[in-house]
């Protein structure tokens, strides 16, 4: 498990984001126990109140749940929930900044679509079949 911190956001937010990422990528599986506040705090040298604040965010979003006396566990359906949330913000977080950068570089709409198609033809990224 690897956590990295920078100055872009408060530490508790970064803890929440990175735990979310671990659930999203399947590093932490549903039903599995999440690292405890104590573990994270001692391992990362972060005040336990800060760690708790980060974890509480995930509890509030229904991604982690507290099993009394046992600790925090990844909630059933957590991964799907993250996927849904990220789909919702995909346009805002990725497409918009992509278009902004393209426009700064003078890349036209046709050229951009061309580039996206080329990305798929490269073969490294699989095109999802329509549902």
């Amino acid at each position: 498990m690897q956590f990295e911190f920078d100055q872009t956001e408060p530490i508790y937010q970064q803890i929440a984001d990175q735990l979310e990422d671990m659930i999203f990528t399947g590093l932490l599986k549903e039903g599995e126990q999440a690292p405890s506040t104590t573990q994270l705090s001692q391992e990362l040298h972060i005040n336990p109140a800060t760690v708790l604040k980060g974890m509480r965010q995930l509890v509030d979003r229904g991604l982690l749940e507290k099993h009394r006396g046992l600790g925090m566990f990844v909630a059933a359906g957590a991964q799907a929930k993250i996927v849904e949330e990220r789909k919702d913000t995909f346009y805002e977080t990725y497409i918009k900044s992509l278009l902004e950068e393209a426009s700064k570089l003078g890349i036209t709409e046709e050229h951009l679509i061309e580039l996206i198609k080329r990305g798929y033809q490269d073969g490294s990224i699989k095109n999802q079949s329509p549902e």
Partner: protein, 285 residues
């Protein structure tokens, strides 16, 4: 456990004012940072709290009780001592026994374990025979094993190498987890303790100038950089603590919420500072 409340505390030596109208509250079970530049009066403040020296005016109370000459209160406070306050030939084991005598229930097991963690061979070694870094380690071992609800660590990482600093951070959090108490870390070495402390006090020019949760303080501070003209225009009405320039790029350090209406030009980058940067600009002469 009760809160420790300091009100209107003043201390001067002769005509020289050291502390001027200090007001602060320490809550039970939190880790605090007491930050200040060299000579800001951090050690004086800690010595006042543990009643080693007396204020010229003001009060220090634990709950409702004044701590002055109050043994019941004072045995809840432990201040990591300066080496010079120990008897000349004191051994580490004797330091533990002294702490056990004054505070009771000294955690000898933890002390022995920490001895190993800090790579000190023998509990019968003399404090004065250790290097500066290991003297700090020896004092930390006492501070982390003593039975007191308020533990004040004055320059806890003085001379410690990177491995031993690591041991200290981990062991502090471990001790805190096992037995929740209040720790106050007084230091001017801030970078590494930023994530350890929940709340900070900054002592500057005889006064407490910042009393805030670290998250809240950093959230309201900004580092704004970009082309000089754009930055100057953007920070015009803000509380600018300081600026730096490098080849036409200007960086401004700002405290206080940024205007919501003002549009941020594309070439301007806005970040939050880390605690060290924030400290530098908050305590600039």
């Amino acid at each position: 456990m009760e809160a420790l409340k300091i009100s209107h505390l003043n201390k001067n030596y002769g005509r020289q004012t050291i502390l001027n109208d200090i007001n602060m509250t320490l809550e039970p079970g939190k880790i605090y940072g007491l930050l200040g530049r060299n000579g800001a009066g951090k050690s004086t403040l800690l010595n006042l709290i543990v009643n080693r020296i007396l204020p010229n005016s003001g009060t220090i109370k634990l709950g409702n009780d004044d701590i002055n000459d109050n043994d019941a209160a004072l045995t809840q406070f432990y201040l990591m001592s300066e080496v010079s306050l120990y008897p000349k030939h004191v051994t580490l084991k004797q330091m533990w026994e002294m702490a056990d005598l004054s505070y009771g229930s000294f955690n000898f097991n933890r002390a022995r374990r920490l001895l190993k963690e800090f790579d000190i061979q023998d509990e019968n070694v003399k404090l004065s025979n250790l290097s500066t870094g290991l003297q700090t380690a020896a004092k930390l071992i006492v501070a982390l094993s003593v039975n007191a609800n308020y533990v004040f660590l004055d320059e806890p990482i003085l001379g410690l190498d990177a491995n031993h600093r690591d041991v200290f951070y981990q062991e502090l959090l471990k001790a805190y987890e096992e037995n929740v108490k209040t720790y106050v870390l007084s230091t001017h070495l801030i970078e590494e303790i930023q994530q350890l402390v929940e709340h900070i006090f900054i002592l500057d020019n005889e006064k407490i100038t910042v009393d805030a949760d670290v998250d809240d303080l950093l959230a309201e501070m900004f580092v704004i950089s970009g082309p000089a003209m754009l930055v100057e225009e953007y920070v015009k009405d803000q509380n600018v603590l300081g600026t730096r320039s490098l080849a036409g790029i200007k960086t401004a350090f700002v405290r206080g919420a940024l205007s919501e209406e003002k549009e941020i030009p594309d070439q301007i980058q806005i970040k939050h500072p880390d605690l060290q940067q924030a400290f530098i600009y908050l305590t600039k002469k």
